[in-house]
Symmetry: C2
Subunit: 251 residues, 2 copies
């Protein structure tokens, strides 16, 4: 808890020094969800941070576990998003899915080439399936990497996990479109962008780079070259982020 | 081994009774790869089967394990494809990724909604990364479900797993386009089809239904309605399958 506070104070100071360039997400002590909710509130109300980022599976558990729901509840109450960012998969997953290669190959496969994204897509799906968005219907969650394979899989998953099966209030697609935001992070080719645009629409896609896994130059070049209307390009480039994160428009 | 032989004899008899309607894949006793290779050869040369289907992870291992390579070697020598079909993920994966929901939801999430596809996509990627297609360059592998998320993830994976990292002879994309075939199985919406078409092209996509997870009617309706040239629609509907499986054209 003290380490998270210290980190968040540092982030807030940096953002305060460059308010036209930087805004911050809070780091949360997720192992103590009550303290994490309190720290999130401090970060938003006192420090001006714009939400929180959770990396991977806290304690090897997904956030759909009700243990963590005090964090979800507070994020909804404060009207700030949670960003589900990947981290190294748990040891059981590494052993079963990603072992057997030389270290550099196994490490890439388990992380930035496949494993990170699949696990984070699953994390978002599990949040939906747990009923978290029925309980906290205004909660907003951000996932990166063009949606972590969800846009490709969604139509299939929505049929297999219909409200008759899940007992949820709404079809899976509705939660994806109303409670998730998708950043581009390092997915700088047209086929997955087009897939994502056709599934969630230009209002829910936010430009991001994913440095050092992709370069700023690659991101800028992609953003300039994608075959979109100028209106949709501007939403993706900055408009959606300003809306979600309540960012001041540049002077 | 005897059970596989018996099953394959039954399949061959059924196909022989309706040669204009049916053709078969062999079931292989994968736990004994030498016997599996022998049975594959018998099925192709004596029974006229068109390849083999492997369901899930034999012995909870991926086929990139060199233990199984006698099967890959024989499939290449016989010029018949292996179809990597999903099955229930191993217990460690079920525990770590798919537990915590009521049975119907957990079961769907682990299989037809997400888990099957992610695991089979990983299976194909692992085959590539193992060097199996450098060793058996003419080997052809079929995966279903519009490519099991690979078309969405490929550009990202290919950058993270470049030949400099993998030590493979070629970029990841090359193996996907030259050694994999993708069937549509139950992915009957335009966004993932378009993604897949843009990544692998109409020459490598084969129509399939995935009954009972999707209906024949849904498949037929999709095939008729997708916005493609008639030439590409015919490749996907039957031409590619005839070419890969050396099927006789209907009289």
């Amino acid at each position: 808890v003290p380490l998270a506070r210290e980190a968040n104070d540092l982030v807030a100071e940096a953002a305060a020094r460059h308010p036209a360039r930087l805004a911050g997400f809070a780091a949360l002590p997720t192992a103590d969800p009550g303290a994490a909710a309190t720290e999130l509130e401090r970060c938003v109300r006192e420090l001006g941070l714009r939400g929180a980022m959770v990396n991977g599976l806290p304690m090897h558990r997904f956030m759909d576990d009700e243990f963590f729901w005090p964090i979800l509840e507070r994020a909804e109450a404060l009207d700030v998003p949670l960003y589900l960012h990947p981290a190294q998969p748990p040891p059981a997953i590494l052993d079963c899915y990603y072992a057997g290669f030389k270290p550099a190959v196994g490490a890439a496969l388990a992380t930035a080439a496949w494993g990170w994204h699949i696990e984070t897509g699953l994390h978002a799906l599990r949040l939906i399936l747990s009923g978290a968005f029925d309980r906290f219907p205004r909660l907003q969650v951000v996932i990166g990497h063009m949606g972590e394979a969800i846009p490709f899989m969604l139509a299939r998953a929505a049929v297999q996990l219909s409200p008759q099966v899940t007992g949820l209030q709404r079809p899976l697609d509705d939660y994806v479109r109303d409670n998730l935001w998708i950043t581009t992070s390092g997915f700088f080719t047209v086929p997955p962008l087009l897939n994502t645009l056709m599934v969630v629409g230009a209002d829910r896609i936010i430009f991001s780079v994913d440095y050092p896994f992709a370069s700023h130059e690659a991101g800028r070049s992609f953003l300039g070259s994608i075959p979109l209307s100028q209106a949709d390009r501007e939403k993706i480039a900055h408009g959606n982020a300003e809306r979600l994160l309540k960012l001041p428009l540049p002077a």
